[in-house]
Symmetry: C2
Subunit: 138 residues, 2 copies
DNA sequence: GAAGAATTGAGAACGATTTGCAATTGATCC
DNA sequence: GGATCAATTGCAAATCGTTCTCAATTCTTC
């Protein structure tokens, strides 16, 4: 991990008040090291860590993603039922879901405009509006 | 099951070319017997059948929901990651997801208007656009 | 009714995720 | 720099929703 990547990672953890353990730094580096947004599953992140030669157990990847999620560092996205995706982009934005490869990418938020939205029923308020655009390869 | 419910159920199955077995009729009756749209999970439908004094195994509920889904009678909705919901309303419409009770209801389709939508990336086409409005009880 | 095909259901198998818990690591205080 | 205590890790077992296997049952058709 380069210096800038290390700094991004530790800042990211510090911002959420999470202790920068070796494992968390490794995963943080893979998630936000290059400053890009990323969509991972526990399995894909575990594999990325393994490929990078880092030793982190799968259970820790699960626990850490959950911790990042609780800390507001990543957002959990459910599109597929069988597995959970985690998105480092916390801003409100739609997603493309590629049905053939079961992968998730960001859709440009500025290209989505909802001009009319159902109101929350009495006694409830809108927590969020999730928009998933399912894609089929042509 | 009243006569009209029986008729609705068998018509529904017949429309999809599914044989009207006792179990399917039971489940169809619970799903569309009263002509209302409904959102169920395998577990909730199994419970409804049990409460109605009908004997259907949980495995059959799963298999039958899958069969109904393949036959285009119901739509599978994924909002929660842990379980699948099935919706008897096949028209394109948004959903309310009640986070506290983990239940799903229809949101009025006429109250949703998307005036700008991201285009499908090259080599892909939009299969569907899923809109889930997450609600928090106030 | 008989024969063959489709359906059912009990239980085993599965895949993703969580949990229990002992060992390790990190932060803090002297 | 240690000692101390809480937080974290990671293995293995446990869970949970769901699917699968396969023998027994039920439908349809002749």
């Amino acid at each position: 991990m380069t210096e800038i990547e290390t700094k991004r990672s530790s800042d990211w953890l510090a911002g959420a008040g999470l202790r920068p353990t070796r494992q968390r730094m490794t995963l943080a580096g893979l998630l936000v090291g290059d400053g890009q947004d990323r969509h991972v599953t526990a399995e894909s992140l575990f594999e990325a860590a393994s490929n990078a030669g880092e030793k982190v157990s799968l259970a820790t990847v699960y626990n850490t993603l959950r911790a990042f999620c609780d800390a507001g560092l990543v957002r959990e996205i459910t599109v597929d039922g069988s597995k959970s995706y985690f998105d480092t982009n916390m801003t409100d934005h739609p997603h493309f879901y590629w049905e053939d490869s079961a992968s998730l990418t960001d859709a440009p938020a500025e290209d989505l405009e909802i001009c009319k939205l159902p109101e929350a029923p009495a006694g409830a308020e809108i927590a969020s509006v999730d928009v998933v655009i399912r894609l089929r390869r042509t």
